[in-house]
């Protein structure tokens, strides 16, 4: 009997390395995780990136500023509008252009709609990762309604390219306000359904509560932002601290929790959907009249210098850093993408948990792989 225990003891010391990805349904794209296991316990997670590295930053150096907008869509495609906004705000800041109030308000509404649909998709896929396929159907059913609003106004479903330096590509559709209001009315009724399905589910709570804890100190030292950081108590909402567009004229709460586990990362997103609806409620009835874009020069040239603008995407803080040498295309452009930074904390968060928990933890980070690799 004793011998048997000994032999198993020897076997357990061996680390077993498995490869999760690049093609794996729960890595949400082409992320490759090299996982060292001891039995079923995760010892080390090593993310390998670059499977969708398209060289966007380098490409940006050879194209003009209005063209860059269309590439930023394809980075974090679930926060497409907010990415556009980041570049536009940076260019406008560099040129010192005052944009009309109408543009600011419309941009904010669009950004909040973006946040809602992104969190809806998170809810859908997170439920699916944990084995609840129903969530997938509910989440995407409601997401289509936002896409319909966009399609009417922007002409595109997901990759909107709606902002451009100096304003918007075109004015909103006459139906826009009515349809957004209809959606808010509908979604306020539907959101409790989400809670009934998943938040209160015993299996779901068992699988997420206390899993993948991230302390406040670690969150700050890793630079984790967005819902992941706010679940750990790190108050990092750029909308609050550095208000851009119309965020300085609306009242909203920053959703903060202190637990920092998978369950609370999920809760932050659920609450943020409610906050986003509140923001839209405050703005939708009083969109100011005026121009939808400022007349810009046909060729936009930024004055020499360095410019930085940060915005809050659905996943955290996106920073756009432009170095200009006075030409029509940037000398260097750098995106500080939230996903890349959040991914760094994955190893620390998943150490000591089971491999099935790794799926829950990486799902709760809500990673978008093209944003990591760019």
């Amino acid at each position: 009997m004793e011998e048997q225990v000994k032999t198993t003891g020897i076997n357990e010391q061996e680390e077993y390395v498995i490869n999760m990805g690049p093609q794996h349904p729960s890595t949400h794209g082409v992320l490759r995780l090299v996982v060292s296991l001891k039995g079923e316990i995760v010892k080390n997670v090593e993310p390998h990136v670059g499977y969708i590295h398209r060289g966007i930053e380098k490409m940006c150096e050879s194209i003009t500023y209005p063209q860059i907008i269309h590439l930023t869509d394809r980075m974090d495609y679930l926060s497409a509008h907010i990415n556009n906004e980041a570049v536009c705000l940076n260019v406008e800041k560099a040129l010192e252009i005052e944009i009309p109030d109408r543009v600011k308000v419309i941009r904010t509404i669009m950004a909040e709609l973006t946040r809602i649909q992104s969190h809806q998709l998170f809810w859908a896929t997170f439920g699916m990762d944990l084995g609840g396929l129903t969530c997938f159907f509910y989440g995407l059913r409601d997401r289509e309604r936002i896409l319909d609003i966009w399609e009417e106004t922007c002409g595109s479903r997901m990759i909107v390219s709606y902002s451009c330096p100096g304003g918007l590509m075109y004015d909103i559709h006459p139906n826009f306000q009515k349809r957004v209001k209809d959606f808010i009315k509908y979604f306020r009724k539907t959101l409790p359904e989400y809670d009934q399905l998943l938040t209160g589910n015993v299996i779901f709570r068992e699988r997420t509560m206390g899993i993948g804890k991230l302390s406040l100190e670690d969150a700050v030292s890793f630079g984790v932002t967005g819902p992941v950081g706010r679940a750990a108590g790190f108050s990092c909402d750029v909308r609050k601290y550095e208000p851009y567009s119309a965020y300085d004229r609306v009242k909203f709460n920053e959703v903060l929790f202190t637990e920092g586990d998978t369950y609370h990362r999920y809760l932050v997103r659920m609450e943020e959907m409610r906050e986003s609806m509140n923001i839209i409620d405050q703005l939708i009835d009083n969109i100011p009249e005026g121009q939808y874009a400022v007349k810009m020069k046909p060729v936009i040239k930024l004055p020499e210098g360095e410019y930085y603008q940060r915005v809050e995407t659905a996943r955290g803080e996106l920073g756009v850093y432009i170095v200009s040498d006075g030409n029509k295309n940037p000398f260097r452009i750098k995106f500080r993408s939230p996903n890349f930074v959040n991914l760094a904390a994955l190893n620390m968060m998943s150490k000591g948990f089971k491999i099935a928990d790794l799926v829950a933890i990486s799902g709760s980070l809500d990673l978008i792989i093209p944003d990591i690799d760019r």
Binding site: P22, G29, Y51, M59, F137, L140, M158, I159, I369, P370
Partner: protein
């Protein structure tokens, strides 16, 4: 496009010219009917098109109406690989291996501008594969950036039509062509 106008398939023309016997044609049509109505796609998405692919499987557009309901996570169980998104140089060998792992009959749908030609990353990018046909043979191209779910559905229906026209000869020829590539 009507079914009668679907002439760009070699096998269809071959079939008409050679006039194969009735028995073989009947067997073929039965096999093809079975194959075309249970196309199981692989969950393979690299970027934005993947979200539209998910939307195609979601309630509004509902893939399952045409027999493509089950997304398979393993290439060994999948019939069709929908290349949804950009393929970069680092990913190309992985895609090739995934394709090789699939068992015959296997089909490829290139979804979106990136998979067709590199799309928005055609110029100035140092790492993007300019079209997935450099790596694996493609059956159907679905243009768009990203294509609408309806477009993907149409592409999949076209693939079904293509399968309908297959016979033993063309199937053997196809396998031989693909294995040399």
């Amino acid at each position: 496009m009507k079914k009668e106008e679907f002439k760009d398939n070699e096998s269809l023309e071959l079939l008409r010219k050679s006039g194969t016997n009735i028995l073989l044609t009947t067997v073929d049509s039965v096999i093809n009917w079975g194959r075309k109505n249970s196309l199981w796609p692989l969950t393979f998405a690299t970027s934005c098109c993947g979200i539209e692919m998910m939307a195609t499987g979601a309630p509004r557009h509902d893939f399952a109406r045409f027999g493509m309901e089950v997304y398979r996570a393993s290439p060994r169980q999948a019939d069709v690989i929908v290349v949804a998104g950009t393929i970069v140089n680092k990913m190309a060998p992985v895609l090739k291996r995934l394709y090789d792992q699939m068992s015959e009959p296997k089909y490829v749908v290139a979804m979106g501008a990136c998979a067709i030609s590199g799309g928005p990353f055609f110029l100035n990018s140092y790492s993007v594969v300019k079209g997935v046909e450099h790596v694996i043979p493609v059956d159907v191209y679905v243009p768009g950036c990203p294509p609408r779910p309806e477009a993907l559905l149409y592409g999949m229906l076209q693939l079904q039509r293509k399968i309908e026209t297959e016979n033993i000869k063309s199937r053997k020829k196809r396998i031989a062509e693909h294995s040399t590539k």
